[in-house]
């Protein structure tokens, strides 16, 4: 067993638990507007997933695909997840109703950078057993970075709105 990876996983899980515990008082149910926008986010993400899969399958059927089919499918899912996350965050309808967005941004940043670093390490170190070892960590890392950036942008927008009020 790789104890370094195990310790890393425990640290990340501990971080998630700590952030959730620290912000437990601000967690409430979603209100009607947030539920509406979450529904829209799901619809848009689902439509984008179908569109990506359609393009992938079309290219594959026409023998124009220069990529591995399973990786393309997974990347389509990551893209649609990213679209869902960004839309939901920008409309304040993400995860739970949290007031402290910065700790979550830091958490996403750490996990994202760890994944990107892992993918690059596999790529340049030659330790990748398959292309999945490179593509998947980088894709998840990019998703995490986008979520982190969006959380920070939303945090600034909220602060600006509060100041203008």
């Amino acid at each position: 067993m790789d104890f370094t990876k195990l310790i890393l996983c425990l640290i990340i899980l501990g971080g998630v638990a700590l952030v959730c515990f620290a912000d437990r008082k601000s967690v409430k149910n979603f209100d009607e507007r947030q539920l509406l926008y979450r529904g829209r986010a799901v619809t848009i993400a689902f439509a984008s997933l179908l569109l990506c899969l359609l393009v992938v399958l079309l290219l594959n059927t026409m023998n124009l695909a220069w990529f591995d089919l399973s990786i393309a499918v997974i990347l389509s899912m990551v893209i649609s997840l990213t679209i869902f996350a960004v839309y939901a965050i920008l409309h304040d309808a993400y995860f739970t109703r949290l007031k402290k967005q910065v700790p979550f941004s830091v958490l996403f940043l750490v996990v994202a950078l760890a994944n990107v670093f892992n993918g690059i390490r596999h790529s340049f170190g030659g330790s990748a057993e398959s292309v999945y070892d490179i593509v998947l960590p980088v894709a998840v890392g990019v998703l995490g970075l986008v979520v982190c950036a969006t959380l920070l942008i939303k945090s600034r927008i909220d602060k600006k709105e509060s100041d203008e009020e």
């Binding site: 409430k28 507007r33 304040d92």
Partner: protein
């Protein structure tokens, strides 16, 4: 269309958007969206806002 009547009523009660949101059990962003005219609330939320501000539906949401 901006709901200036709601904004004025809230200011009249000396409440911030966050305080009004807590009274109505919604997020601050939802109150902000209603004031900016970006979101049409349901009748239940309209009633909750009216109760919190001691106003009638006509006072806050009827364009007359």
């Amino acid at each position: 269309m901006k709901n200036l009547k709601l904004k004025a009523a809230r200011a009249g009660k000396d409440l911030s958007q966050d305080q009004l949101a807590q009274l109505c059990n919604v997020s601050r962003q939802t109150i902000n969206a209603i004031e900016k005219g970006d979101y049409n609330p349901t009748i239940n939320l309209c009633i909750a806002i009216c109760k919190a501000l001691d106003k009638t539906l006509d006072d806050l949401f009827w364009e007359g």
